[in-house]
């Protein structure tokens, strides 16, 4: 039995095994109104965590509590069945019931909890309108677009007014073109949800943009947690470093020019104004001993803070004015004679910078 009173939000501290190989150990506390992302590679145990919190898998030790109610406490013999938990889940692939219409899918949770057919359908219709899905009530899920299916799944999870919103890879079933738009829609509805929110994802962009706090999970264990910036600037594991290495920068864009901290970066994309998330692949950054000739519009002089030998490639962390991670071939590194503490010229082509519309978050860097 785990001692101590339960807080208002989600408190999940537990351990479970699957087979002999896999062990999951989680320690999460999410207050109401806060979004936490569980970020990790495939097979890290993310979906197992969803199943455990939703009650579809039994934990072996620890405790899961939500809004003051103990959901699981094996020591005290408590294991609430999934239907008794107030957890709204948007499942990976959405899992809309194929034989029910959109309205029946959304009404399902209300019907299951004893509401009459007509009342539950009316409530479902309200939620469909809120999510811009009016007119699709009678449609079968097979005939929905990916973005529509995602919103139906969200409506289905929200209609029962759960105490926790749990999203398992909410955007991975979407194609790239609709993903960033759907991410903004999702972000808006996440912020409207009053309880704690947990987003499970393997996509750092998704985690960094949607969450207030990111927990990195590898092989069933959380290896690092913190705000997106803390993880980006001080990665503590190779996986986190890889994520950080992909150079995610928050900034504000105006007419093709993005301000990141006090620094300006030229973009090839002129159509997006306002808060943005810039992504720059480390291999898209070139390093030079002298000011480079040619067309790169983004170049500046900086100092080398850290050099990591990755075998055939070398990873270089640069310092002020804008900390970035570059990757060059070991050959180039030797030819340039790169060394920590030395000054170097850095260049990035505007076309190599990915731009995602962001959501009111400003970077500390």
């Amino acid at each position: 039995m785990v001692e101590g009173p339960l807080g208002e939000g989600l408190e999940a501290r537990f351990e479970l095994h699957r087979g002999d190989e896999f062990r999951l150990e989680l320690d999460l506390a999410i207050p109401p109104g806060r979004t936490v992302a569980l970020l990790g590679p495939n097979g890290a145990g993310k979906s197992t965590a969803v199943a455990a919190i939703a009650g579809l898998l039994q934990i072996e030790s620890g405790r899961i509590g939500l809004a003051g109610v103990t959901l699981d406490d094996p020591g005290a013999g408590i294991n609430l069945p999934p239907e008794s938990r107030k957890v709204g889940v948007v499942f990976q692939d959405y899992l809309l019931f194929p034989h029910l219409t959109v309205a029946e899918n959304v009404a399902f949770g209300l019907r299951s909890r004893g509401m009459s057919r007509s009342n539950s359908l009316a409530r479902a219709a309200d939620w469909l309108t809120r999510l811009d899905l009016a007119g699709l009530e009678k449609r079968k899920p097979a005939l929905l677009s990916g973005g529509q299916a995602q919103r139906v799944a969200l409506a289905r999870a929200l209609v029962t007014e759960p105490d926790l919103l749990l999203l398992d890879e909410p955007l991975s079933a979407l194609d790239v073109t609709t993903r960033s738009e759907m991410r903004r829609v999702l972000d808006r509805h996440l912020k409207e949800f009053p309880g704690p929110r947990l987003v499970i994802t393997h996509d750092p962009v998704e985690a960094f943009l949607l969450a207030d706090e990111v927990h990195i999970i590898e092989k069933g264990v959380v290896t690092q947690w913190g705000t997106p910036d803390e993880i980006r600037l001080r990665p503590r594991t190779p996986y986190a470093a890889d994520l950080a290495g992909s150079n995610l920068l928050f900034g504000r864009a105006t007419a093709g020019l993005a301000q990141v901290g006090s620094h300006h970066i030229h973009l090839a994309e002129h159509g997006i104004d306002g808060d943005v998330l810039l992504t720059i692949r480390p291999s898209a950054i070139s390093l030079h001993r002298r000011p480079p000739e040619g067309s790169p519009r983004n170049m500046w002089e900086t100092t080398i803070e850290l050099i990591e030998d990755l075998g055939e490639r070398t990873r270089v962390r640069t310092g002020a004015p804008l900390p970035l991670t570059a990757e060059v071939t070991a050959e180039a590194s030797t030819a340039l004679g790169l060394a920590e503490g030395e000054s170097v010229w850095l260049a990035i082509k505007a076309t190599e910078i990915g731009v995602e519309p962001g959501d009111g978050r400003t970077s500390s860097s």
Binding site: P82, E83, R85, V87, V89, L95, F97, G109, S112
Partner: protein, 274 residues
Amino acid sequence: MGFIALTTERREAERARRPPVLLVVLGVLGLAVFAVPFIGLLSRVPWTDLPELLSSDLVTDALRLSMVTSLTATLVAVLIGVPLAWILARLEFPGRSLVRGLVTLPLVLPPVVGGAALLFALGRRGLIGEPLNQATGLLLPFSTSGVVLANTFVAMPFLVITVEGALRNLDRRYEGAASSLGAGQWTVLRRITLPMIGPSLVAGLVLTWARALGEFGATITFAGNLQGRTQTLPLAVFVALESDRDVAVALSLVMVVVSLAVLVALRERWWKAL
């Protein structure tokens, strides 16, 4: 546009290509195996006497009894066969493959042997039949209930196999999604599991009913051949072949028409799962 043009061209090319002659000949031969007997039957139908033949007591009794027993057997199969399929698909227990073999045994066993086994178990002097008879006065052999039991024994495997396969193929995450939305286990079964395996369930029902309707060996062995009580259509056909060929033909025609009507009607809508 280029893509559309290409696919149209390809389709025309496929159409223009002649199918292999041997394949067509063998296929038509296969069709003949089904068609010729029915043509033979139709050629012997006494069309003018048909209304009179069909309204005879022998025919109406047999038709009514066949419908009642085959449909009751199908209902019984749903009530106990679907739960059995669920157990086989969902529960892990020692000897499961043995149980699965037992369930399919009636498919390969000669129905006469099945009838004999039923007699040894549930007959007047049978293992369970004797105490059952002494306790309740119930006697299954040579009763309409005995026909239903024989039908169920022979036909239920079709339902169990079809439904078990469908339950195994069902993505169980949907059931998890339903329970996370507050549905208890019965609600999940009623509103998610069964509807999602609906097509297979209906296919299993049709096969079960069809098998029960045609049941002969186990019925005659276990329940006998009493007009109005245990003499179903197949039994009546068998008897009539000895006494009055015209009646036999009329009875056969009834079976063909009823079976074909049901199969065709269901095939369009439901029977895609098979």
